[in-house]
């Protein structure tokens, strides 16, 4: 149930963060490091906030789908944020492994 919310909200987050990171990539003379750094920064800050705002704007009524299973808005957002941490850890491990 929660994963459905996670997927929906992260779709917006991912889109915004990729666009932001592309700007950073171009602005930093095509630096892949700048792309990745901005991407992860956005995923955990502005991208996530904007995704939450957009979800509220576009799918506000859908919250009752989750409320009926005991999930409050705060709980959904907190879980979605926390679930990003293992994804970041995985990225850091891969990054270290391939020596980026």
């Amino acid at each position: 149930m929660f994963l459905h919310y996670f997927r929906t909200i992260q779709r917006y987050n991912l889109l915004f963060s990729v666009v932001t990171a592309l700007f950073a990539y171009v602005g930093a003379e095509r630096s892949i490091q700048a792309f990745l750094h901005t991407f992860w920064l956005s995923i955990f800050s502005g991208g996530f906030l904007l995704a939450s705002f957009l979800y509220n704007l576009r799918h506000k009524r859908q919250y009752y789908f989750y409320h009926n299973r005991g999930f409050s808005k705060i709980r959904l957002m907190a879980l979605s944020y926390l679930l990003l941490v293992p994804v970041l850890l995985l990225y850091l491990i891969v990054k270290k492994w391939i020596g980026l």
Binding site: Q62, Y64, H67, G70
Partner: protein, 227 residues
Amino acid sequence: MKHQLEADSIQKNYGTKELLTDVYLKCETGDIIGLLGRNGSGKSTLLKILFGTEPALNSSIRINGKPCPFPYRQGGQIAYLPQHRFLPADIPVRKIIGIFIADKHAQQSIRANERISPHLNKYVNELSGGELRYLEIMLLLNLDVKFVLMDEPFSGMEPLYKERIAALITAYRTTKGFIITDHDYRNIIGTSTQLLLLSNGVCKRIQSLDQLETQHYLPPGTLAEFY
């Protein structure tokens, strides 16, 4: 086992307007409480306060005697059918059932329902208003909760669906308590085990149908069909 939902001292203001001044309400397993009231009397707001998603100036909600300010957050206590559609539009009906209902047996029973099975591969946007409302109600009735709050379950339904929904609610009252509000007073009167009229910010128990006319909810003479 019999459960009890009790709410008192519910007060709600919108700006300077006092919408709910001092509401008391009690619902037990087996009850179907029909909540009637004119437009803007606060029926939907009251249901949301009982569910826990609408803040109130003051409220005291208890389930089985235990204080429960946000009943929905506890899970397994209460379900709420909002007036508007609430199912996600990006996944088909079959998947919605799988996500929303935890019990496999209940999932199968909903999927096998004659009015739902033809639509399993459709998205909710492809369903008619009546088909969607029926699906929403079936999902909520199959949740393992003690109480179900329904805001306009009969709205936009064809007569056959209305009959079917009234029968479903009656069938599920053996394990749940219901609070239902709708402008379709005929179906509310026909389905409910007790009637409440929300007027001037308080809930008044309706002992005799005549009171609906004397309290100015229905125009004089409307109730002749019930006698």
